[in-house]
Amino acid sequence: MPDPLAYLDATGAALGDLPGFAQDGEILRALYKAMVRTRTFDAKAIALQRTGRLGTYASSLGQEAISVGVASAMTEADVFLPSFREHGGQLWRGVSLKELFLYWGGDERGNDFAKARQDFPVCIPVASQFPHAAGVALAIQQKGERGVAVALGGDGATSKGDFYEALNVVGAWNLPAVFLINNNQWAISVPRAEQTHAKRLADKAIGAGLPGIQVDGNDVIAVRDATERALKRARDGKGGTLIECLSYRLGDHTTADDASRYRDDAEVSPHWKAEPLIRTRNHLVAQHGWSKDDEETLLRSCRDEVEAAAERYLATVPESPRAMFDSLFASAPRDIATLAEEIDDG
């Protein structure tokens, strides 16, 4: 198998035998649809932010294959602990478009998922989700559940103590956890090469005694395949895995960022040829009769669905101020209660 693990080249041509699931047109179409749906959401979110109707937003443009590939390999028993850039995975897991809009629109109700109730919300403090994943894995191990804790962070996250400490305890306690890195080559303005002198981010696993695997993060088949293997390994009691997914951040860091300050378009443009949607579409066209119609229908349905969700988001009435106290504790301490009343009185 090629290293980094890859099944499709940038044009969508197979580099060799595909894993079983990838020979199934249904599954491939589902993966492609999920990535298109993610990108449609992404574009709408940016549009809403630009017009002052959404908060600061982190685009996943060009990295859709990672979290879609990861989530598509997971089962209901597993728990997803994403960073702030993995909308595709959240959507696949059942988080609704409206919930995502609410979260990025600055409404805590966006984290009260109707589905995927065990999944963690977006994690803003970089790398702090990895210790949580170790804890979830500990609970799973302790309760004898079938699940695996799956945490996803960025290349910058691999510099943070939280990441190493969590990886180390996953190894030391043989916990059912899979850590994945979305290596999009940038941590805001800091390029991968300046983040660490490690040859591969996957090598950070060695210090924890865990396998570290590198995959082409723009190849949704490779990401899903690697994740499936790692999940099986964890379920079989063989412990954790670190998977580095190589991709590229095509957009700004967030809507508050201006990447032109620190990188040239010249660096960016070639990566447009390697982004994950093209190769998947080409492969569907070549191998599974994906037609112009199919494509247009898909785009239209994603657009309609996203527009409708955005409308519902924009129509939601903000919570009452009291809400900022209601969920602070299971039952409000006297102390808090009185303060809450003071707020009410203006």
Partner: protein, 326 residues
């Protein structure tokens, strides 16, 4: 019924929690076969196994962060930080996650964890082993901070903390671990977690303290009584949230208040109590509110430690000052 020291009471409460609730799990550094450096977990790994009583790698950040994840996924982790001086690396996980997981998910995910740590000085320990930074934690919205003042309260409050559906930092005054013992029944009964405790009733002055300083505070109250001054002594017990009603009522009665804590003066928790009284009980005040605290400096090494700590004498003097105030 046997007399128990505080450390024995804590050990008993931990054992009881493990026996009562299969979701309770203990982890921390050296809590297993070693039984904890203060023996808080002595014998528990033998009784409950190495799956439920676990030695962690030397990683305070992951101890706290793992507790968050485990709590959110259905366990009731009781994690130990070996000394409060090493708890600082856990503050990020406590503040950014433990304290707000319920709130930010609007109740979907919760965080019923307990983080235990011995705190305070007076045992001639090496540097970084004598911290009392409870005020930093008491400022964090969404946390509970509890400090037991006696073996019996340690037993009941620790059970309450473990059964509480939200994160609790349980700070153990290590100077009291073996200082005294009292009858503690292993009856599985938790104490109310939000209540301050009036240790003795008095009419002239209210002394408010917590943890190990209750020793000097109580001693001062004895001496004052002999001198005809009746001091009411309150063990704050819950540092967050505060039992404001309890100490307001007391000061409204006595008109005078002296707050005693081991932590440095500036921005210590004594300030919150004094500020609360200055706002809500001003007219009842017959004298300025005095704070007798650790010095506004780094806890000295053992040779000077005694000079840092508030003494019975300094407490008594402060009471005389407020009594003589006019």
């Amino acid at each position: 019924m046997a007399e128990r020291t505080m450390i024995e009471a804590i050990n008993m409460a931990l054992g009881r929690a493990l026996a009562d609730d299969p979701d309770v799990i203990l982890f921390g550094e050296d809590i297993g076969i070693d039984g904890g450096v203060f023996r808080a977990t002595d014998g528990l790994i033998q009784r409950y196994g190495s799956a439920r009583v676990r030695d962690t790698p030397l990683s305070e950040t992951v101890i706290a962060g793992m507790a968050v994840g485990a709590a959110a996924h259905g366990l009731h982790p009781v994690a130990e930080i070996q000394f409060m001086g090493f708890l600082y690396s856990a503050i990020d996980q406590l503040t950014n996650h433990a304290a707000r997981l319920r709130n930010r998910t609007r109740g979907r995910l919760t965080c019923p964890l307990v983080l235990r740590a011995p705190y305070g000085g007076g045992i001639r320990a090496p540097e970084h082993h004598s911290e009392s930074m409870e005020a930093m934690l008491a400022h964090i919205p969404g946390l509970r901070v509890v400090i037991p003042g006696s073996p019996a309260r340690a037993y009941g409050l620790l059970l309450a903390a473990i059964r509480d559906p939200d994160p609790v930092v349980f700070l153990e005054p290590k100077r009291l671990y073996r200082a005294t013992s009292e009858t503690v029944e292993d009856n599985g009964q938790a104490l109310p977690i939000e209540q301050a405790v009036t240790l003795r009733n008095g009419t002239d002055v209210t002394l408010i303290s917590w943890g190990a300083m209750l020793t000097e505070t109580g001693a001062a109250a004895d001496q004052l009584e002999a001198q005809g001054i009746s001091a009411e002594v309150i063990d704050l017990s819950s540092l967050k949230p505060l039992d404001r009603a309890k100490f307001r009522t007391s000061v409204e009665k006595t008109g005078r208040c002296v707050i005693v804590h081991e932590a440095p003066l500036t921005a210590g928790l004594g300030a919150e109590i004094a500020a609360d009284l200055a706002e809500h009980c001003l007219t009842s005040l017959l004298a300025p509110i005095r704070r007798v605290t650790g010095s506004d400096t780094v806890m000295p090494y053992p040779r000077l430690e005694a000079h840092y700590m508030p003494s019975t004498e300094r407490i008594r003097q402060a009471v005389h000052d407020v009594m003589e105030y006019a």
